[in-house]
Structure formats: C-alpha cells, structure tokens
Symmetry: C2
Subunit: 349 residues, 2 copies
C-alpha cells in the first residue's frame, strides 16, 4: 500500500511533533517545509526532548524543503497539507497564500488547519471552494527554540471537518478525516487523537484559554505561573473568559461552566511560556486577529460588549505595530518632531 503523502507547512514545535509522529507511525510520507532556520535544520537536524518520545538527537524528517514552491517543483501531489504556521491575516502572507502553489496541483488535497482561533477556515473556504478543510485543535505544551524542541505535555488533538457550504460530499469529507486520524493515532494511547464532531464548539473552548492566557502573558512578558502569582487569574483571566462565554453563546455555543476553572488552573506550576509570548520575545508577528479580533467581530455582530477583551485586543494591535515596524513592514518617519509653545501646551488646563 502506498503511503499517504503529507505536506507539513510550519516547523514550529507543534509541526515537528506532528511530523515525528507521522513518520514514527509509518503510514505517511512527510515533506516538511522549514521556512526559517532551514540551513540549521537541514544540516544538524532537531534535538527533541519529549514526554512522549524521550530524547532524540539530530533528528531530520525524511524530506525537508525550504518553501512550498520547492515542495511541488517536480509535480509532487499531496493528499494532505498540514498547516501549523501561524495564522496571520494581517501579514503580507496569510496562510491561504502560503499554501497556494500546493493547492493548485491537486483538486482533492485536504487541508488540516492546526492553528488556534475562530473563523480561521473562512479565507480558505473562500479561496479553495470544494476542498475539504479539517480542524485540528491541539492541547500541547511544547516549544521549538532554534531547532531544540521541548515537549512538556503529551500530544492531544481533536480532529474534525469544518462547516463548509462549498462541500458537496460530506461522507467523503468524513472518510478523509478518518484516514488522517488513522495515520496520526499512536498505539497504546501514546497520544490522544479524538474525532471532533463539533469543531466550532471545540475551538470556542480552546479560545477560552488562548484569549485570556496567551494574550496577557504576551502583553506583560511573564510566563503563565508568574502572571498567576501577580494576581492575573481573578483580575484578568476570569473576566476575559466570561466575555468569551458570552460571545460563544451569542454565536450559538454553550461552553461548559466548569471549563472556566479548569482553564484558569491548567497551567499551574508549569512556568509555561505560551506561543504568543514566545513570538513577542522573538519579535515575530502574533496571532492577534484570529484569537482576539475574530471573537470581537462576532461579539460586535451580535451587539455584545466585551470591554476586557477589547482592551486586550487593542493593546496587542499596538504590540503588533511595534513588531511590524521592527520587521520593516511599517515605516515611521519620526525625524521631524513638532515642538509646541507654552500656550498650546497649556491648553490641558
């Protein structure tokens, strides 16, 4: 039986764990696109320290390329494109653009969006009608810092089919989902791979954590445990989570009441650095639009008010501005300063 062809775009910690898992199971032929750090990854490989796989030195996926273009340069066709790059609709290259050349080569390619946030499937459904778009929601604690991958908690994913009005054959979509589950699930419960029959509900539940925890750690440059020590749980996380509950409800999804406290306490003692904080520290763009902007737009549509989340959003948009300027995506001329006269300045009184 020929192996399933998977193009894995995004070599963050999560992508590397997924690639390793697929190769470990042996049913897939994985091509990993490493967009940044390709030279180091392709020469030295990855150092993996994992609760699931133990310690591995110098690991390289069987196929490694530096771009999606390169991955299809010889006419390669993929059954699945596993997307674990960050979802940045406010960047010059949102993810539906990144995978464009691979989508063109096969009308049957399914896309797996292994990313946080809500409404992330919308731009893909619009650009690629008829393609199956799968949702992968991951609960995993892991980091990849300069090819050193640390996995602190076991891989735990929920896989399902996104609501998609352009899909003709729902049964076929389910088969495509089941096949991926079968090649990703490990023996003896070494990872948790669940079929998700209510994708949007799952995403709202995950958002409860991300909208509160990722965001506030990113804004204050403190890990989860330190933000909690500083009083964040009651003062910030809980009020933000309550607003997510209300927005989800207006969207038709009732989140379990006990989830609030579970999510508040899930990172206790871990001194965990959420991905958004890692991004801020590395001066990389943050997923502010899919994690905070989209929920707020849903709130606005339903006339919901969410002042705590709104503050988080606009402060993070400013952080994004700072990151974009550092990356040269925004150019500000601050050479001309307009000094004021006493009279002008004293208008404040």
């Amino acid at each position: 039986m020929s192996k399933t062809k998977v193009l894995l775009v995004g070599s963050g910690a999560l992508g590397i764990v997924a690639a390793y898992t697929l190769e470990y199971n042996g049913f897939a032929e994985v091509t990993v696109v490493v967009r940044s750090g390709y030279r180091k990854a392709s020469t030295e490989g990855y150092k993996i320290d994992s609760v699931q796989f133990g310690s591995i030195d110098h690991w390289k996926p069987m196929k490694m390329v530096s771009s999606v273009h390169e991955a299809v340069a010889n006419g390669e066709v993929y059954d699945y494109i596993f997307v674990s790059v960050k979802n940045l609709p406010d960047s010059p290259t949102p993810c539906e653009m990144i995978i464009e050349s691979a989508m063109k080569t096969n009308p049957n390619t399914a896309v797996i969006l292994c990313q946080n946030g809500i409404d992330i499937e919308k731009p893909l459904i619009e650009k690629y009608p008829g393609h199956v778009i799968l949702s992968c929601v991951s609960l995993i604690g892991c980091t990849n810092i300069d090819c050193v991958v640390t996995q602190m908690t076991p891989d735990n994913v929920q896989l399902g089919v996104f609501e998609n009005p352009t899909l003709k054959d729902r049964a076929r979509a389910e088969q495509i989902l089941d096949k991926f589950i079968s090649i990703y699930r490990m023996k003896e419960g070494k990872n948790v791979v669940n079929k998700d029959t209510n994708v949007r509900q799952t995403r709202w539940q995950k958002l409860l954590y991300n909208a509160a925890v990722n965001t506030s750690t990113a804004l204050t440059d403190l890990d989860c445990s330190r933000t909690a020590m500083a009083g964040c749980k009651e003062a910030i996380w809980r009020p933000v989570m309550r607003e997510i509950y209300a927005i989800a409800k207006s969207d038709g999804y009732t989140l379990p009441p006990e989830l609030e406290d579970i999510m508040l306490n899930i990172s206790d003692g871990l001194f965990y650095t959420p991905s958004m904080l890692v991004d801020v520290r590395m001066n990389r763009m943050i997923e502010v639009e899919t994690i905070v902007g989209n929920p707020l737009r849903i709130a606005e549509k339903h006339g919901n008010v969410a002042p705590h989340l709104s503050m988080i959003y606009h402060l993070l948009k400013m952080v994004q501005f700072r990151i974009k300027e550092k990356q040269g995506l925004i150019c500000v001329d601050d050479s001309v300063k307009e000094y004021k006269t006493t009279d002008e300045y004293a208008k404040g009184f």
Copy 2:
C-alpha cells in the same frame, strides 16, 4: 535677606529643571539629592538642552548630595522639601520614608509633591500631621537620560495647598505657598507658575492624560505618536478617559468636557516617550498605584465600574511584578516544574 532653603529630592528631568530654575532666579539655596548616578552628576554635571534655557554643558547645582541623610548630616534645616522622586507606595521605600530624616529636623518644613496621581498626599498627612503639603502639577515634556536633560516644552506648573485636616492655620499655609511661587516664577513669563485653588480638580485633569497615555505606551513599548498611529486614541485612550471622567464625578469633581479631545491630541507629532514608558525601558518601578490604583479604589468606593482602567491596572501590576523580580525585590523559584499526565492535561476538553 537670607535665601530660602530648598531640599530637592529626585534628580529626574523635572527635578533638574526645577533646581536650575530656582538657582537661576536667585532667591533659593538649593540642595539636590541625587540618589542614582551621583558619581557622574557630581563629576561631569548635567548637559541641559532646553526650550527655556538653551544649551548648557556641565551644569551642577551649588549643593549636591547622594542621600537625604547626607543632606541633614550637619544639622541643616530646610524651608521646603521639593519631592520629584517617583511615588511608589508599593516599593520598599515609599516617598514619605525617603524624606523622613529631613522632616524630623524642622517641624515647619513644607513638602512640595511634584508627582502625578491622586491621593498622593494621604500617606504624608498621616505620617507628618501639621506640616504643610503642597501640590505641584507639572505639564512639561522632558527627559533625563544619564545626565543629559532634554526639555522639549516649557515648564508649566500649578501650585496649591492639599486639603489637609491636620492643618491648624490655613492662612499660614497660603503664605508658604505664595512664597514658593515667588521664588519659582521666572521673569517675562519664561515659565508658567499658577496658583492652584482646586488642587484635586487639577490632579484629576492631569490624570486624564496619565491614566490613558502613560499606561498604554508603557504596556506596548511604543511612544505617544506611534500608539496613536496604531489606533490607540479611539480604542484605548478615549474609553479610559471616559472612565476617569465618571470616577472624578463620583468623587465630586466635574472635568471640563472639552478636555477629553485636548488630552487625546496634545502629544500629536511629538513622538514623546512618557515617563512610565521610560521607566519600563530602564527596568525601573512604575507609578501604577498612584496613577491607576488609587483612582480605581475611589471608583470601587463609589460603586463605579471601570473595566478598561481595571485591565490597564492589572496588566501594569504584572509589569511591576516583572520589574520587581528583575530588581531582586521578588524571588520566584521556577526550578521545579510540575509536568502533567495526558489525562490531567486533557481535562480542558
């Protein structure tokens, strides 16, 4: 006539401009306490680049000491203690402690608090009943970076007597106020020194700016103009200012409606770095309690809800936690991380 003796505590930009002004006018003998950077200041002096005084190299005040203790070591007595250190009730040395040794030597010493925030006089009135405490609210754009003082906008201060139930003789307090105004005011209107007959009103008005602008620039590491470009005015500054209006009103103070837009636009084109942002960049503690915490406590007392200001407050408290840890004032043991099992971790679903 003997000169008025002024002890100036706090050699930030504002303190140096005040010391220079007092010496320039010639009616005061000024002793400047330089707590950090004393060596450089006492050997090389200050480089001043000022819209008001022009360029001065190697300026030193007549008397410079490295601590308040040193300033009173030989039994010196001061008519005024001008306090322009930061007001940090949450630090190991709040400002009523810093000036303690100088307060003991003279029961008639008046204190001038040239600091931002509301309710800042309360700890001083409690610790030093009967002393005249003056309010100095300054609208000035200036920075002091490693003994280089840049003054971008003219000095503009409002001086008044704080409400003080421990004061027996209000007329005497007014005389003490008038005397300081007369030694600080420059000829030909080179600075603006106004008598403030409604100190708390003035402080609420200044707070409108500080609670919105200082705080959000400090949280996002962007100067005023960049935060404005990133959409801050309508999304953050205005909602925060509206909450300050409401809290001030509950406290008995009606702020002029037109002030909102004046404060929103007052920094246009200046690319100004507010002091709180400077502090964050230098890893120095920030005035979060007097600028945000005290107004919120007043709101709470009157049953006011201020979610935008509350978010600002709690995020800044976390920034303060980060700064305190870097300064060694907080010690966190993050060497023991508690990893979790799949089951525990998966409770989130």
